[in-house]
Structures are given as C-alpha cells and as structure tokens.
C-alpha cells in the first residue's frame, strides 16, 4: 500500500504555489517592461531627441532592478521538483530536463551579451547596435518563458508523449505536438501578452505618481502615451488569447471550466455568469442552488466553450456522475478503468520481475487499453476530481473584471494626455497609481485559475498530485516553506526599497 499523507501533499503544494506566485511578481514585469524599453529607445533613435534617451534610461534602470531581484527565483521551483515532487520529476524528467537546461544556457548567453550592451553600451556602441541589443533582450526575455509554459501546458494537456511502464517515464513521441499544442500556444501567448499589459500598467502607475507630485511631467506624459497605446493593443491581445484559453479549457479540461463558472448542471445554451455569490455549502450531486445571487448573460458560456450559442456545456455533476444522454463519461466510470490500469501495471511489474515475458506482454496489452485513465485509479471518490469551486469562481471573475477595466483605463489616459488635460484630470491619476497593483492581482488570479483549476491533477488525468509527491516528513516541508517565505519577503522588500529610491531620484539622477 502507498501511504499518502494529505497534509504533506498540501504543504508541498503550498510551497510550490508560494514560490511560483512570488516568481510571477517579477517575471511579467520583465516581459512587458523589456518591450516598452525597446519601444522608448526606438523613438529616441528615430527622433534623436535626448529627452527620449533620458526617459529610456530611466525605465531601463527600473527594468534592471526588477530583473536583478527576480532572476533565479524560478530555480527554486526546480529544487522543489527534485525534493518534494520526485515521482513527477522522474516521470517527466526525460522530456523537460534538457529543453529547460538549454533555455537556461541560451538565456544566460543572451543576457550576458545583450544585457551588457544595453546597460554598459550607451555612447560606447553605435545607436543602431544598442537598439538592436535592447530589442534582443526583449525578444530573449519573452522567448525564455516559452519552454516552462510549454511544460505547464503539457501538464494540462499531455500530448505527443507516451508512458513507458518499463522505466516509469513519459517519452517523447512527437516534439512538434508538444511544442505547438493549442494549449501550449494559448498559454504562451496569454502569459506573455499579459506581461505586456502589466508592463504598461507599471509605466502608467509611476507616471501618474509623478503627475500627482508635479515632477518629471513631460517624461511622464510621453511615457503614458506609449504605454497606453501598447497597453491597449496588449489588452486586446490578452482578451483574444484569454478567449482561446477558455475554449481550450472547455475542450481539454471541462471540469476546470465548469468549476470557474460554478456550473453544476450542464446546459444547452449555457449562460456566462457576469457576477454572482457562490453558495459555498453546495456539494456535487446535492440539490442546493449553486449561487446565492447571480447575473447571467444567456448563451455566452456555450459560445465561449464551443463557439456555438446553443451547444451543451457539461457541468460538474455531469462530469462527476456522467451524462449518457450527452455522452459524457463520469469520473466513477473512469475510476474503474483507472483501477484496472493500476492493477495491470502492478501485474506487468511483477511478471517482469519473475521474468515471465508472456504474462508481462498480456499485462502490458491490458494496461495499454486503459492507460489514459491511469490517474483516475488513484482517486478515492468521484468527487475528488472536483477542484475548489469558490476559489476558482472568484479568481476567474476578478481576473476578467480587471482585464475588462484596463483597456478603459488606457483609453482614458491616452485621451486626456493627447488632449493635454491629463494633469487636470485629478480623478484619473490615483486610479493610474493603483493600476499596476490591480494588474498584479489579475496576474495572480489568472494563475490560480490555471493551476488550482487543474486539481487534483499534476498531469491531467494521468497523475494526481498526491501520487506525484515524495514521501518526506511534513515538518521538513513546513520548515522550508517558512524559509522561502522569509527569503522572498526580504527580496520583495529589497525590490520595493531600491525601486522607490530610484523612482524618487527620477530620470535626472541617471
């Protein structure tokens, strides 16, 4: 028997979530601000106006601070794979180890070369080469997010690989299917474009603060115009890629979609909840109402999920208990097939140990027939396949509401700045100061939807998190959790202090 300590699983998950969430404070700003720096510098090179150079150097310094504080925080996630998630790490290590290492080396050389030119090269290399280097930093920073997002997408939608029961590892069958899976593409484009959006909000926040204080007014106005235009374009792209991500969820992870919409009973022409209060005592299969209060937009969820207004969207109850009319296989049925797969895996292992090739071959044939349900064999109840509905519902709706607010904000900033009335629009500037922090909330809630939404799975349908963990002492994980909390909080304080000092000095100090 495998003894699974759920408090160990939960602490390991909490530690991973803490690390990933801290890491994601720094990363999206790096992605977005690098592109904005390149845009500012492009305007400088085109116009030859020294004010744009000073402005570029200012934002580049803030980019450098964020990059330096955030760099390598993601490596801690790799430490955790080897220690806390050794089963998972072993199973996927063949696939993701090499590309992630190559990505690290590529990023290192790119950064060592072009970062150096970007920061040390003013007046030492030609304007054109300096600009090229800045763009290369922007492109390289965004590309370096590719493989980790592809790896994450594979966990949500495992394609292009096959499980080898001899080695207990997933082996690559089709590299291109992994790289270009629609889930991977939507994850990469959604994550990077949301970084562009956050970078724009950051520029708006600092510039608004300058305008409120009446300092560096011209620089702030110039920055706002570029950031608002870029932010508007990024907002549209985030919306487009977000719609694509929701469509992929509906096709590949329908439980996630049902949970973040609080949809228990599947419907044809299902409505999208615009606002609502979840009934937190509601459980799958019971007769309670899912919402205490809700406002729905008719038909929109069906359109989002299947691109057709009247189509059927399965709810949590359909997915847990099955719906034969709509040909939805329930978790209970999948669990039976999964338990057969686990038993056949055990039979295969035993036959190989006894060197009984005939029995091993038969067990392998049986295992292959049910291997896509392997993960369900480890679940105790069908209801275990349901992720936390309230957390998901609120996270998703906060993300969407904020995502809808940002383009309006960018439009307002652009309008009033172009009209020359931004310094008089006192109601807008405090909102601008707040906007970056709202952007961070949208970023974090977005990842909560993606990651909490795939629970209980480490690899969708194949490996639940409780089977991915290492059997460690829970005290060890708790101790390192608080160590990380301390370390990351210190880093965050350092970032805020250095950033605030630099903002207070402004572009003249450079």
């Amino acid at each position: 028997m495998v003894d699974v300590d759920l408090s160990l699983v939960n602490w390991s998950r909490a530690q991973f979530a803490l690390t990933a969430m801290y890491h994601w404070i720094f990363v999206p700003l790096t992605l977005g601000l690098s592109v904005l720096c390149a845009m500012f510098e492009s305007i400088y090179v085109r116009t030859g106006d020294e004010k744009w150079k000073s402005l570029t150097k200012f934002w580049m310094t803030l980019f450098g601070i964020n990059f330096a504080i955030g760099v390598a925080t993601g490596i801690i996630l790799e430490f955790q794979f080897g220690t806390n998630w050794s089963n998972y790490s072993w199973m996927v290590g063949d696939i993701f180890g090499a590309p992630l290492a190559v990505e690290g080396i590529f990023a290192f050389f790119l950064e060592a070369t072009f970062f150096a030119v970007m920061f040390f090269g003013w007046n030492r290399v030609s304007k054109g080469f300096h600009l090229f280097s800045t763009w290369m930093v922007a492109v390289g920073s965004n590309l370096s997010a590719l493989w980790i997002l592809v790896a994450n997408a594979w966990m949500q939608n495992p394609v292009g690989m096959a499980f080898n029961p001899e080695t207990a590892r997933f082996e690559m069958e089709n590299f291109w299917a992994v790289l270009f899976s629609p889930v991977a593409m939507s994850k990469f484009t959604h994550a990077t474009s949301s970084g562009f959006l956050l970078g724009s909000l950051f520029v708006v926040t600092i510039s608004s603060w300058y305008l409120i204080k009446g300092r560096h007014v011209e620089m702030a106005k110039k920055s706002i115009i570029v950031a608002s235009v870029f932010g508007l374009l990024a907002s549209a792209y985030v919306g487009f890629t977000g719609d694509e991500a929701a469509f992929e969820d509906a096709q590949k992870q329908p439980m996630k979609l049902a949970a973040f919409e609080g949809l228990y009973k599947g419907e044809e022409g299902a409505g999208l909840v615009a606002a609502g209060i979840i009934n937190s005592s509601k459980k799958p299969g019971d007769s309670q109402k899912p919402f205490l209060f809700e406002v729905k937009i008719p038909g929109l969820l069906s359109l989002l999920a299947n691109r057709t207004l009247g189509s059927f969207v399965p709810g949590i109850d359909d997915l847990v208990y099955g719906n034969s009319e709509q040909k939805v296989m329930g978790v209970a049925e999948k669990m039976k097939l999964g338990q057969l797969a686990v038993a056949d895996l055990a039979a295969f292992k035993q036959a190989r140990q006894e060197k009984n090739e005939g029995a091993a071959s038969e067990a392998l044939t049986r295992f292959t027939a049910n291997k896509e349900f392997l993960g369900y064999g480890y679940l105790d109840t069908p209801e275990e396949a349901v992720p936390p509905v309230s957390t998901l519902f609120y996270s998703f709706h906060i993300m969407v509401i904020l995502g809808s607010l940002f383009p309006v904000l960018f439009l307002a900033f652009l309008f009033y700045t172009v009209k020359g009335k931004i310094t008089e629009t006192r109601w807008l500037l405090p909102l601008g100061v707040l906007s970056y922090f709202l952007g961070l909330v949208a970023q974090q809630t977005g990842w909560i939807v993606a990651e909490v939404g795939r629970q209980p799975w480490a690899i969708q349908g194949l490996l639940p998190v409780k089977m991915a963990t290492t059997n460690l002492a829970v005290g060890h994980v708790q101790a390192t959790f608080f160590m990380f909390l301390g370390l990351f909080t210190l880093l965050l304080i350092a970032e805020i202090k250095i950033m605030l000092k630099q903002i207070s000095i402004g572009p003249e100090g450079l």
Binding site: V2, A72, K349, L487
Partner: protein, 75 residues
C-alpha cells in the same frame, strides 16, 4: 590578448566600474545565489531519487512501485 578580446574585456570592466545602483543589485544577486545554492540546495533540497538510489533502474523501480500499488490516504 588579441585586440577584440581586449576591447570586450575593457567594455565589461568599464561598465562594471561605472555602475551605481547596479553594484547594489549585483550584491543582492550574489547573496541570493549563495543562499540558494550553498544553503538551500545543499542542506534542504537534495534530489530525493539521486540521493536514495544508486542507478536509474532502482529509481524506475521505486517510482513504479509507488504507481502500481493501491493508495491509502491519511488526512
């Protein structure tokens, strides 16, 4: 040193010397990396399978054993 290498060396040397806020940032990066690799990785985050098993075959057997047995949950 050949001339191009000298130029690259001088470029980096002068760049590092002229840093202002960058010096503080480098200190933070170095302290962070030392904490991460010399403390956390070394004492708190050993690779479980590499530490406890000698060969890949043993590691595969261990993971397979975990995957092929029924689960008992402790809450």
């Amino acid at each position: 040193m050949s001339q191009p290498l000298t130029r690259v060396y001088t470029f980096y040397r002068n760049g590092f010397r002229a840093m202002t806020v960058g010096k503080t940032l480098w200190k933070i990066i170095l302290i962070k990396l030392i904490i991460m690799f010399a403390v956390l990785k070394l004492f708190f985050f050993p690779n479980y399978l590499k530490t406890n098993f000698q060969t890949d075959e043993q590691r595969a057997d261990h993971v397979l054993e975990q995957l092929s047995r029924p689960v008992v949950q402790n809450n």
